[in-house]
Amino acid sequence: MEVLSFLADGVLLALEPINIMLILIGVTVGLFIGAMPGLGSVNGVAILLPITFLVPPGSAIIFLAAIYYGAMYGGAISSVTLGIPGASTAVATTFDGRPLALQGRASLALVTAAIASFVGGTVATVFFTLFAPLLANLALSFGPPEIFALMLLAFATFVGLGGDDIPKTIFSICFGLVLATVGFDTISGEPRLVLFEIDGFLRGIGFIVLAIGVYGIGEMLWTIVETRGEITTTNPKMTAKGLAADTKEAVKRGWKGTTIGSFLGFFVGVLPAAGATPGSLMSYGVAKMISKRPEEYGSGSPDGVAAPEAANNSASTGAMLPMLTLGIPGSPTTAILLGGMVIWGLTPGPRLFVDESEFVWGLIGSFYISNVASLLINLAFIPLFVWMLRMPFTILAPLIFVLSIIGGFAAARSMHDIWLIVIFGLGAFFMRKFDYPLAPAVLAIVLGPIAEPTLRQSLLLSSGDPSIFFTRPIAAPITIIAIILILLPAFKLLRRKRELVEG
C-alpha cells in the first residue's frame, strides 16, 4: 500500500517537535477563538496568517489547519454554555446543546460535542487519506444543477420533519430566503432589497449576524421573560467520575448522530461552495428525520448535539480536499488557507499531490494528530466552561448581551450589524412567542445564497427548461428524493383525514 507509506511519512513529519508544538498552540488558540461568539475559524486563520512566514510552509499550514480544527471544537462551547453560537458552523449545536445545559447537563453536551467532533474529524481524515483523487472527481461532477438539487434536499429535511407546524415551517423558510436575497445579486450584478437605502444592506445580511441576534439576544430575552430571571439550572458538578459517566452516555445516546454527521458532513464539505455550516445543519435535519424519537430533538437530545458537531469537523476536513486537489476552496476558511499557500509559493491544484507530496502528506498526517490533541485539550477545559454556568442568570444575561454585541461587531466592524443583531433578537423573540420555528429561517439564510444562484445558473444552462434537474444522472435522484420528502407530510395528512372520514 503506497498510500500507507506516504501516510506514515506524513505522520512522522507532523510529529516533529516544532510541528507538535504548533499543533498544540494552534488547537488551543483555535478552541478559544471558536468559543468567542462571532469569531470563527475564518477570523482566526486570517489574523494569524501573516505570522506563518516564520516557519516553513509545511509547518505553517499544519498550524493554520490546527486553528481551523480547534475552532470547530470550540464553536460548540458557547453554543452550549451561553446559547450563542460560537461560530456559524456551530449554530445547529445550540438547538439541543442549550436545552441540555439548562437541564444541568452541560457537561454531557460538551463531552458529546467533543467526542462527536473527534469521530467526525477522524472518519473524514481516513476518507481523505484513502480516496482523495476519487472524491476530487466527484466534486467536479457537481455542477450548478447538482448543487441546487442538494440544497433542495436540505430544505426538504427541514420541511418534511413532521411534528412542527408545517405552514409555519414554510413561512419561516421563506422569511429566511427573503433575507438571503438582500444585497448584490450575483447573476445580474444589480443590488436588491437595499432596505431604506441604507448602504449597509449592500453587503447583504451576514449569517453570523442573524445567528447571534436570534440565538444570543433572542434566547436571552426568552429566558428572562419565561423565568422572570429566576432561572435555576441544576448546579452542574464536575468530577472525574462524572466525566466518565458522561462519556459513556454520550457514546450511547449520540452515536447515531455522530455517524450521520461524520459521513454527511464530509460529503457536503467536499463539494466546493457548500462548507461546514450547511453540512452541520443538513446533518441535524437528517438525524432528526430518521430518528425514532424526533420529538426529543430541540429539547436536549445528545444525538442533536452529536450530528452537527461531527459534521462540522468532518466537513472542515472535507473542505480541504478540493482546496488541495483542485485549488478551489470549499469554505471561507479554506479560501484564506489557499491564499496562504500562494504566499508560501505553492501552486494549489491537481499537481500539488505529485509536486509537493511531502507538504500534502505532512498536512494529512497532522489531521490525525490535531484531532487527538483537540479532543484531549477540549476535555481538559470542559470543567472550566461548565463552571461558568454556575454564575447566576442575572450576571450571565448582561454578559451574553455584551458578548453578542462584541461578536457581531468583530465580524465586519460595522455598527450597522449591531442594530441588525438587536432587531433580529427582538424579531426572534416574537416569532418564538407565536410559535414559529426559528431553525428553518436560519437554514434558509445559509442555503439561500447557494440555492438561488445555482437554480438560476441551471436554468440559464438549459435555456429555462426545468427538466435539467431530472435528466442529469446525479441531479435527478437527488431532486426526486427531495420532492418525495417535501410531499410526504401532505400524504400523511391526507391519509389521516381519509381514515377519519372512513372511521
Binding site: I25, V29, F32, I33, V42, G44, A46, I47, L48, L49, P50, I51, F53, L54, A139, L140, S141, F142, G143, P144, G183, F184, T186, I187, S188, G189, P191, D199, L202, R203, G204, P272, A273, P322, L326, G327, I328, P329, P332, A335, I336, L338, G339, G340, V342, I343, G345, T347, P348, G349, P350, R351, L352, A412, R413, P453, Q457, L460, L461, S463
Partner: protein, 325 residues
C-alpha cells in the same frame, strides 16, 4: 489572542527573516493608530490574496509603526469599500487594495456618488492580464478552432464568468462583438468557482486571470488560447494575443494601493515609501513572476492620468455592454 499575535510579530521582527531591508522612516509623519487596510473583495479572491501577501511582507519586516488591519469589504462589487473610503473619518489611516470594480462600480452605480479621481494614488503594484481558456477534452487548441466551434454551436456554447459588468464579461463582450459570436454566459460569484466548473466541464470556456487557472494549466487540464495582454506573456510564450489577431484590445485587472480622498500629502508620502519598498522587494517581485502579473510602475501624476483614461475606457466598454444585452 492579541497578545499571542503581538508576541509572534515581535519574534518576526527580531528574527533575520527579513526578505527586504527595513527602510528607516525618519519623517515628519507616521501613523498614530492602526491603519485601516480595506480589501475591495471577499476573502479568497485575487485581490484578497494580494492584500494578505502585502500585509505579510509589511508585518514580517516591521515596515509600519502601526499595524495594517485588513478588512474585507467586498459587498456590492466593491461599492461597500468605495463608500467606506469616500466617507472615511480618518483619511490619513485609511487605504485600500483595488481591482477593476474600482472603475466599473462607480460608473454602474452613479447613486453612490463616488468619484475615484478624488482618491489618493499610493502605489501601483502591477496589472493582471486575462487569458481565454478551454478544457483539454474539448479538443480545441487554437483561437480559430474556438471561433469555429462557437459559431457551429449557434448560441449553445457556454462560458462562465464572474458576472455582467465584471472584468471577464467586458472581455467576452468585446470578443463576441469583434467576431460576431453568440455565447451563453453563466455568471458565478468568483473566479475560483468558474475555474472549478471549467475543470468539471460544466462550462466550455472562461476568461480568467492566469493566477486562477494556473494549477489546472500546469496539470495539463486547461489550454490557453488567447491572451488579452499588450504583448505575449513570458509564462505563456506560445499563446497569441488579441492584438496579433488584428484587434487593438487589451485588458488588465488593476492591482493597486490607494488612499482615501483627502489624505494629507505627508501621509500619502509615508505610505508611498512603505509600499514602494514592498514593490521593489524580492518577495513581491517573485509574486509578480509566479502569478504572471505585469509590472506597471507609475508615479502620482501618471497614476492620476491613468485613472482618467481607465474611467473613460470603462465608460465606453460598459455602455457597449449595456447596449448589447
Amino acid at each position: 489572542m492579541k497578545l499571542t499575535k503581538r508576541l509572534f510579530l515581535g519574534l518576526a521582527a527580531s528574527t533575520a527573516m527579513a526578505a527586504l531591508p527595513v527602510t528607516a522612516m525618519a519623517e515628519d509623519w507616521s501613523p498614530k493608530r492602526p491603519i485601516d487596510f480595506t480589501i475591495m473583495a471577499g476573502p479568497g479572491g485575487g485581490a484578497d490574496q494580494i492584500a494578505r501577501f502585502v500585509q505579510s511582507v509589511v508585518e514580517a519586516n516591521d515596515m509600519t509603526t502601526r499595524p495594517l488591519v485588513p478588512t474585507n469589504r467586498g459587498g456590492g462589487s466593491g461599492a461597500e469599500a468605495l463608500l467606506h473610503m469616500k466617507d472615511a473619518r480618518d483619511a490619513d489611516h485609511t487605504i485600500m487594495v483595488t481591482l477593476n470594480s474600482f472603475y466599473t462600480t462607480p460608473i454602474r452605480q452613479e447613486a453612490l456618488g463616488v468619484d475615484i479621481e478624488t482618491f489618493t494614488p499610493i502605489t501601483m503594484m502591477g496589472v493582471d492580464p486575462f487569458v481565454l481558456w478551454v478544457h483539454k477534452d474539448s479538443g480545441i487548441t487554437t483561437f480559430e478552432q474556438y471561433i469555429e466551434q462557437v459559431r457551429a454551436m449557434d448560441g449553445e456554447f457556454v462560458m462562465g464568468g464572474t458576472g455582467s459588468g465584471q472584468e471577464d464579461s467586458i472581455v467576452i463582450a468585446f470578443m463576441s462583438g469583434a467576431y460576431g459570436l453568440d455565447i451563453k454566459y453563466i455568471p458565478y460569484d468568483g473566479g475560483g468557482a468558474v475555474a472549478k466548473d471549467l475543470a468539471g466541464k460544466q462550462i466550455m470556456a472562461t476568461v480568467n486571470n492566469p493566477a486562477e487557472a494556473k494549477g489546472f494549466y500546469e496539470a495539463g487540464e486547461f489550454v490557453p488560447l488567447l491572451a488579452f495582454s499588450d504583448e505575449r506573456m513570458p509564462a505563456y510564450p506560445d499563446v497569441p494575443t488579441m492584438k496579433e489577431k488584428g484587434h487593438d484590445f487589451s485588458y488588465y485587472n488593476q492591482r493597486a494601493i490607494v488612499g482615501a480622498p483627502g489624505m494629507s500629502d505627508e501621509a500619502a508620502d509615508y505610505y508611498r515609501q512603505v509600499f514602494n519598498a514592498v514593490y521593489e522587494g524580492d518577495a513581491w517581485q517573485g509574486y509578480l513572476t509566479s502569478e504572471s502579473l505585469s509590472p506597471l510602475p507609475m508615479n502620482e501624476a501618471e497614476t492620476r492620468a491613468y485613472w482618467t483614461t481607465q474611467v473613460e475606457n470603462h465608460r465606453e466598454l460598459l455602455s457597449a455592454l449595456g447596449g448589447e444585452s
